[in-house]
């Protein structure tokens, strides 16, 4: 009815996307968490308490799972989000620069109960933390 209307675009902006990092096809196509992390050069990472994952312990539906990530590891330049049990575990990777804080809040999809792992890259070394989120199927199927 109204899709397509109201594109909130102001003026003709330089094509921003031309400057973006190329989409890491290999890492996002990986079917295991290990391969996905290898694909972003984070094959091994040290566990760290300084990565805070704010997320519900149990979600009423796996289509929308809110996750808030803060890295207190000094010098964090990027954060990657991996849902171990998803068909394609790598969910997102954010590079931060020019004053951006290593923080992101986003809703992710989870196929089933799984660990959610966050990997931070600080000065070329990788640190990670993870949190288990239980997915239940609500509703009566009627």
């Amino acid at each position: 009815m109204l899709a397509g209307a109201g594109v909130v675009a102001a003026g003709l902006l330089a094509p921003l996307h031309a400057l973006a990092a190329t989409w890491n096809k290999e890492a996002f196509g990986a079917k295991s968490a290990a391969d996905a992390l290898k694909g972003i050069g984070a094959a091994d990472s040290a566990p760290s308490q300084d990565i805070v994952i704010e997320a519900p312990e149990i979600a009423e539906n796996g289509a929308v799972v809110p996750i808030e990530i803060t890295s207190n590891v000094p010098g964090t330049r990027s954060l990657a989000v991996v849902v171990e049990k998803n068909p394609f575990p790598l969910v997102a990777k954010f590079d931060f620069q020019e004053g951006a804080l290593p923080y992101v809040k986003v809703n992710v999809k989870m196929g089933e109960t799984s660990d959610v792992r966050v990997v931070a890259d600080a000065g070329g070394k990788h640190y990670s933390a993870s949190k288990n989120i239980k997915i239940t199927i609500g509703g009566c199927g009627g």
Binding site: L2, P66, E68, I137, G138
Partner: protein
Amino acid sequence: MGLALGASGLLAQKSPYADYQRMTAENAPVELYEIQGEEAWKKRAGPKNVSLEQCDLGQGPGVLKGAYAGLPRYFADADRVMDLEARLLHCMTTLQGRSREEATKRVFGNADLASEMEVLSAYIARQSNGMPLKPGTSHPKEKAAYALGQKLFYHRAGPWDFSCTSCHGEEGKRIRMSELPPLAKPEYARPVMATWPAYRVSTSSFVTLQWRMNDCYRQMRMPEPNFGSEVPAALLTFLTVNAAGETYRGPAIKR
């Protein structure tokens, strides 16, 4: 559907999903529907080619502030109690001259495309955020609507002998993993009625109270209620008056 700390300070039973609902509500794309709703409110339509901006939702023609929090209520021009969507339909047929058939052709949308009623509900409900629910209770027809809604809530019919209380009847009881609140009790009705209409996470679509009445009767294995008719308006009067006084904090999220 979890229970949140009602505005009345009553610490309702904390559902295991309370954190999920709080975080999801803070992070739901509801404003995308409000933007489309503002456009729909201002868009000329129908044979009379006028917008809905002169529609009187109970606070005066075109007044949006607090209008949703004051519904359902009695409207003299239609001589009946109306909830938001029934009232919008009234304005579409009177102000815009649209046929009831055209205006109700697609009242429930989907994830790809919300319906006009859904985006209007999102935009209008936002204008009552933070205000106490204050549905009409003084007019005789408002009292009658409440009483009828109450009887309908307990009325068992259909092939499975269900009433609303078959699922919304007992505290602490679950259907599968969902704890459906006993909505006849004010402390349970408050957090529910304060958060409709809403973005439904399981279908990534925006849903309204007419849809909720429609889908409940579908799951009661009953025939389909006429959109905006008196039976759903009576039920919505019953539920909203039970929740009266609660601070409206929608549009929010539902499972």
